[in-house]
């Protein structure tokens, strides 16, 4: 064998060039967009150029201008200000839904994964029943029973989303539970509560985060739909779904701005949540390898 110090690089051998893994720009952009929305929503009162509820019929249906950056709606209210204020309600609702669904869902998941047996069977069947109802049906039902506004749909959607979170987290928790370090904790004599809360749960956080992010997207659509149907917040509140509904009639008269901008915002936000959740899921599964 000839063993010279130099390497012979055959021209075709390096055809497969190494790629440097790129920064995940999609994840960064989505996360930045959502962060921006949250900041805008929080600081809405200080950053809006106009009072979102100020009616001025003389200025109705104006196109974008220096003073009204996105134009005005049918009542002369500044669209930009309304969209900014709308972010508050449009994001708060889904946030509440996700918080409730996640807390209860995680608790149920841990319970069923750890205890197994009858506990698992009973809870799983109950969740299956809830599964059968689409979120929006439950939301409409809740409004019919308890009146419109944000409260009833939020509670209804929280219940509707429970099974999704609980099911996914249950299977993740069950798998994680079979890992040796949980047995090691058990063997070390640690009390069950400590094992579940301080060892199992923290290792499930990545999955919980992904689930939250995806659920936020779905909840946004569902709540916007509820408001669009007139069952959520009442006018003159600014909320994206409601604005889509309000602006419908204006489309036919040649002024689509209200519905269009509100609709675009909903779509962009949902896409941002979905892509963020998807990218996070990929990252966590890669890291787990």
């Amino acid at each position: 064998m000839a063993c010279d110090a130099g390497m012979t690089i055959s021209p075709t051998a390096t055809r497969t060039r190494g790629r440097r893994a790129r920064r995940d720009w999609v994840l960064i952009v989505c996360a930045a967009f959502i962060a921006l929305l949250v900041i805008v929503a929080v600081f809405a009162p200080w950053i809006v150029p106009h009072d979102p509820n100020k009616v001025d019929m003389a200025k109705a249906y104006q196109g974008p201008s220096g003073s009204y950056l996105l134009g005005t709606d049918s009542l002369g209210r500044d669209l930009l200000s309304r969209l900014v204020y709308g972010a508050r309600l449009s994001l708060a609702g889904p946030a509440l839904v996700v918080v409730f669904a996640t807390i209860i869902g995680t608790t149920l998941a841990l319970l069923t994964a750890w205890m197994g047996g009858w506990t698992d069977r009973v809870i799983s069947r109950v969740l299956d029943i809830i599964f059968a109802f689409p979120g929006i049906i439950l939301a409409v039902l809740a409004v019919a029973l308890f009146g419109s506004g944000l409260a009833a749909p939020v509670v209804a959607l929280s219940i509707a989303y429970l099974p999704y979170d609980a099911r996914i987290l249950r299977s993740v928790a069950m798998r994680e539970r079979t890992l040796t370090y949980i047995s090691a904790c058990y063997v070390a004599g640690l009390p069950t509560r400590t094992i579940v809360l301080r060892h199992l749960l923290p290792n499930l956080l990545p999955f919980i985060l992904v689930q939250c992010t995806l659920s936020l997207g779905y909840a946004l659509v569902d709540l916007a739909a509820v408001s669009y149907l007139g069952l959520g917040v009442a006018p003159p509140a600014a909320e994206w779904g409601l604005m889509v509904a309000n602006g419908q009639a204006s489309i036919l008269t040649g002024h689509p701005q209200e519905s269009l901008f509100a609709g675009i915002l909903i779509v962009l936000t949902v896409i941002a949540f979905n892509m963020l959740g998807d990218r996070l899921a990929t990252r966590f599964s890669v890291r787990a390898q």
Partner: protein, 275 residues
């Protein structure tokens, strides 16, 4: 081998232990462990040898409390274990008698916990020590397994397989058990690292007089680490005795088959008559 006085009794005593998986009512069910009995003297080292399906791991899991026996008696440190589900208090008591080191070092450590916190948690559970005393004890344990402060401040993924297994050993020793069960504890390690860990285990046993129960399929490791050996096949014990005698002059045909299949200098694989 047995160095303690007779009144201490056996470190481990297993009598007519049986484990059947699956419902017996239906008549089916897999008998993983079939009516086995053995004892280990304090300070001794017993190896349970067998291939997959022999029941050796199930036996170890029953002794440590991860499985409940179907029937039979297990005594560790003179105290008999109950058959039903163990409560927290009983688990804690058992944890201070017997501990386990698992086969895969990485998955046996909580990936989110720093090494120091992992051991600290055990110390806080079993002993009433103030913070300084715990810090000192952690340092002592780390030194005992051949690691230092650098290793204590990191998470498991920053450590090599051998280092992770040392951490697992330190954690197991933290509750000052009298018996350590090693379930294929060196099987996943590289050859050069395996030698280090085997030496470490021998050192620890010499220093502390701890009792070992070694589960392994590897006869060379068994020879190196144990004084007595029990050979299991399909849930039953087929041969037992001092390691030297059993491995030099095996009486049971299965033991002979295991020996003749073990790679060593000058060995060549041969086919059995029937596949």
């Amino acid at each position: 081998m047995s160095s303690s006085s007779v009144q201490d009794g056996h470190a481990i005593e297993v009598e007519k232990l049986t484990k059947v998986f699956g419902r017996r009512r239906r008549g089916g069910g897999l008998t993983a462990v079939d009516d086995i009995s053995f004892t280990v003297d304090p300070g001794g080292a017993l190896a349970i040898v067998g291939e997959s399906g022999s029941g050796k791991t199930t036996t170890a899991r029953m002794i440590i409390g991860l499985e409940r026996p179907t029937s039979g008696r297990i005594s560790v440190g003179g105290r008999e274990q109950t058959h039903g589900r163990m409560g927290s208090r009983e688990r804690r008591r058992l944890a201070s008698e017997v501990q386990m080191v698992f086969q895969d070092p990485y998955s046996s450590l909580d990936p989110r916990q720093r090494v120091r916190d992992c051991i600290d948690e055990i110390l806080r559970l079993h002993f009433d020590l103030d913070r300084e005393a715990r810090v000192a004890r952690i340092a002592e344990l780390m030194t005992q397994v051949g690691l230092d402060e650098r290793h204590a401040s990191v998470r498991p993924r920053s450590l090599s397989g051998g280092e992770q297994q040392r951490v697992a050993i330190a954690r197991a020793l933290a509750s000052k058990p009298r018996v350590l069960i090693l379930d294929e504890a060196v099987a996943s390690l590289d050859v050069s690292v395996q030698a280090q860990v085997l030496n470490l285990l021998a050192d620890i046993r010499e220093q502390t007089g701890i009792t070992y129960l070694f589960i392994s399929h590897d006869l060379a490791v068994v020879r190196q680490v144990s004084d007595e050996v029990v050979v299991m096949k399909c849930g039953a014990i087929v041969e037992r005795g001092p390691t030297d005698r059993v491995l030099d002059q095996p009486e049971d045909p299965y033991t002979r088959a295991l020996l003749s299949a073990a790679p060593r200098p000058g060995w060549k694989p041969t086919r059995k008559g029937t596949p």
